[in-house]
């Protein structure tokens, strides 16, 4: 049960700035996902929270207490690593036991041969056994207790890693890309399992991934990071519908959002190429802007329709829907997602018109910041 406060974290390796003043307030019990392309600093931030790296500036608090000077094992957090980091020479049961052994047994009680004769040893070991059994039952790995990690499949190893983290009932779970070593099918399954685990444990989860689909499906809130900066922290649906930065818009959502160059004329009307986008107005008159339209907000219509003329250069049939790649006459490519019935009308090589739904157009200024747009309902 812990809220985690990250305040102005800075970190550089030599002359390379990896984190430029990142601040996030993570609420107790929430599942927050740090997402971004490789190298954006998310894993570094996670390790700083865990206590495995020391930041150059800023501080971390857990349950409103500063933890910067605490060793990783004192912060009462648990971590699941990308490679699982299971001890290869120990059985599954022993692996899960390690955190409890380290915490509950004193140095003397842990000595190789003499330890078991120390007073209190037996009671503690019984307690440990109970806790380990409970965890393995929850995760369904009871049958694997005596195997070594080398004899397990990827998914099984992942569960053992989670078990080792769970057994201590930590205040927060940190996960560093735990699913990236699994194949696609297993990944989808494990996503659901982890989400269920979170619901059951009600503990704070801080999850790092580069896969925006994972972020969107699992998170209560998503924190999008890029090049050491925190771009936006918001619910998945807000991040999708209302990105504050064009980079967020481009990173989230698959296929990628279409970005078109546009101008705002003196009266606030927006033109793309030489066509006016009807029904869309912007406050920043006389500027260059960028118009972002998601593939599902961009439809193809007959060449005589009102919109941007184009030629279809490629189409993909996914069964229930279809993607159309179109080359605009004014230059630039867009992708449109439509129901697969559209394949009856359009196919590669056709000339068509791209129609933009103004309600779903996102406007960004030249630097990439989101602009507010005003929509007038067509009379």
């Amino acid at each position: 049960m812990a809220n985690v406060t990250i305040r102005d974290i800075e970190k550089s390796f030599g002359s390379v700035n990896v984190l430029n003043g990142v601040s996030i307030d993570i609420e107790d019990g929430e599942f927050i996902v740090l997402v971004g392309p490789s190298g954006c600093g998310k894993s570094t931030l996670l390790r700083i929270i865990a206590g495995l790296e020391q930041q150059n500036g800023g501080n971390i608090s857990i349950e409103d207490e500063l933890v910067d000077n605490l060793h990783a094992s004192h912060r009462d957090i648990a971590m699941v690593f990308q490679s699982y980091a299971l001890y290869p020479h120990l059985t599954v049961a022993s692996n899960i036991r390690v955190p409890l052994l380290m915490r509950r047994l004193s140095f003397l009680q842990r000595l190789p041969l003499l330890g078991r004769f120390m007073p209190g040893h037996k009671e503690i070991m019984d307690g440990i056994k109970r806790d380990v059994d409970e965890v393995t039952k929850t995760l369904g790995i009871g049958a694997l207790m005596d195997r070594k990690p080398g004899q397990l499949s990827g998914g099984q190893r992942q569960r053992v890693a989670v078990g080792r983290a769970m057994v201590r009932h930590p205040r927060a779970f940190l996960m560093d890309e735990p699913l990236s070593n699994l194949d696609a099918e297993l990944r989808v399954h494990m996503r659901a399992e982890i989400a269920e685990l979170h619901r059951r444990l009600e503990t704070t989860f801080i999850y790092v991934t580069h896969d925006q689909a994972e972020a969107m499906t699992m998170a209560d809130r998503v924190a999008v990071m890029m090049d050491g900066d925190l771009l936006q922290v918001d619910t998945p649906s807000n991040v999708y519908k209302n990105p504050t930065d064009i980079r967020v818009a481009e990173f989230i959502g698959s296929p990628k959002i279409n970005i078109l160059a546009g101008q705002v004329d003196g009266s606030g009307k927006i033109t793309v190429g030489d066509r006016v986008l009807s029904g869309l107005y912007s406050a920043t008159k006389g500027t260059e802007i960028r118009v972002g339209v998601r593939p599902e907000a961009l439809t193809l219509a007959d060449i005589k329709a009102e919109g941007l003329p184009c030629r279809i250069v490629h189409h993909e049939n996914l069964g229930s829907e279809a993607y159309f790649h179109a080359e605009l006459n004014i230059g630039g490519r867009v992708i449109s997602r439509m129901d697969s019935t559209a394949l009856d009308t359009f196919t590669t090589g056709h000339e068509a018109t791209v129609v933009i739904d103004p309600k779903n157009a996102l406007l960004f200024d030249k630097e990439g910041q989101r602009l507010t747009s005003k929509i007038e309902v067509a009379a």
Binding site: G51, L52, E53, Q54, H71, A72
Partner: protein, 307 residues
């Protein structure tokens, strides 16, 4: 590790390591220092590291140049006076044909390595890349022979060589080492990592299998070959046991360690200086080579170790 090394613990580590380094370096220090000192300085442990280099009288020189019974003339005594360092190093080459021993050492070590390569590489290639009936049996043979240290069977080898009259010859020094099972094993492991496609391309280009070994496989496995070379050269340049057995009487075939050993038999006390000089001369080539190419040496050792 995070938060681990305080300046205090670093200093402590260095302190321990330096004490260790002193013990490790000690004999090298003594060897080098004594090789530059006069007998008197050696006996009394004076003169610092380099010795005072005061000219001393070379007794042997005087005895050698004075006819028996006569008294040495002043000029003779003058000409036989030299600085200790000269006395030692020249003496090293004088007292025994050290130059010849060194050449023997070079010849034997080089021959051993070359022959090892000639014999091991084709076999390693066949085991790694060619499919033939009996391949597993041959590899089993190699694995079994890995268990047999050549020094352990020195005696029967000596008997066998003696029966064919080869004792006291270069052949005796070289033959037992021509088969390097370790070399076959190491090169096979390496050859297995060469892509088959490369070999097939060479075959299509018309290369014979024999050419493939030397023109395709060898260049690909240079690191392993270097490791093998280091192992072989170091082991055989420094080897004392086998030459001691193989060369019983003919000093012409002595390798450097044998030549050095002869110094110890001498009861003449003046001999420590030249002995240390000889030791320095024997030990220096490999040490210098190591210091110049440290990484290569250490990589080579670890490479062979891991395989």
């Amino acid at each position: 590790m995070y938060g681990k090394s305080s300046p205090m613990s670093e200093a402590l580590k260095h302190a321990v390591l330096i004490v260790g380094a002193i013990i490790v370096i000690l004999p090298f220090y003594v060897m080098l220092s004594y090789s530059m000192k006069s007998p008197h300085e050696i006996d009394t442990n004076t003169g610092g590291f380099f010795g005072d280099q005061e000219p001393m009288l070379d007794e042997w020189c005087v005895k050698a140049k004075t006819p028996s019974g006569a008294v040495a003339s002043k000029e003779l005594i003058q000409s036989c006076t030299k600085t200790p360092i000269i006395f030692n190093y020249v003496g090293a080459f004088d007292k025994a044909p050290l130059l010849r021993y060194l050449l023997n050492g070079v010849f034997v070590t080089a021959s051993i390595f070359l022959i090892q390569v000639l014999i091991a590489l084709p076999c390693a290639y066949a085991l790694a890349k060619l499919r033939f009936w009996g391949r597993d049996a041959v590899f089993m043979l190699v694995l079994f022979c890995l268990l047999i240290p050549v020094h352990a069977i020195a005696l029967p080898l000596y008997i066998m060589l003696s029966k064919v009259g080869l004792i006291n010859s270069y052949a005796a020094l070289i033959i037992p080492w021509t088969i390097s099972v370790f070399g076959i094993f190491l090169m096979r492991q390496f050859f297995m990592t060469v892509p088959d496609d490369l070999i097939d391309a060479a075959r299509i280009d018309g290369m014979s299998e024999f050419s493939i070994v030397w023109k395709v496989m060898l260049p690909c496995a240079v690191p392993a070959l270097m490791a093998f070379a280091i192992f072989s050269v170091v082991a055989h340049w420094n080897d004392y046991f086998w030459p001691r057995i193989a060369v019983t009487s003919d000093r012409n075939y002595f390798t450097p360690p044998l030549g050095l050993r002869m110094f110890k038999g001498d009861s003449d006390g003046d001999v420590y200086g030249p002995m240390m000089a000889t030791a320095t001369i024997i030990v220096t080539p490999l040490i210098v080579a190591f210091l110049l190419a440290q990484r290569k040496f250490i990589e080579g050792i670890t490479l062979s170790g891991m395989k």
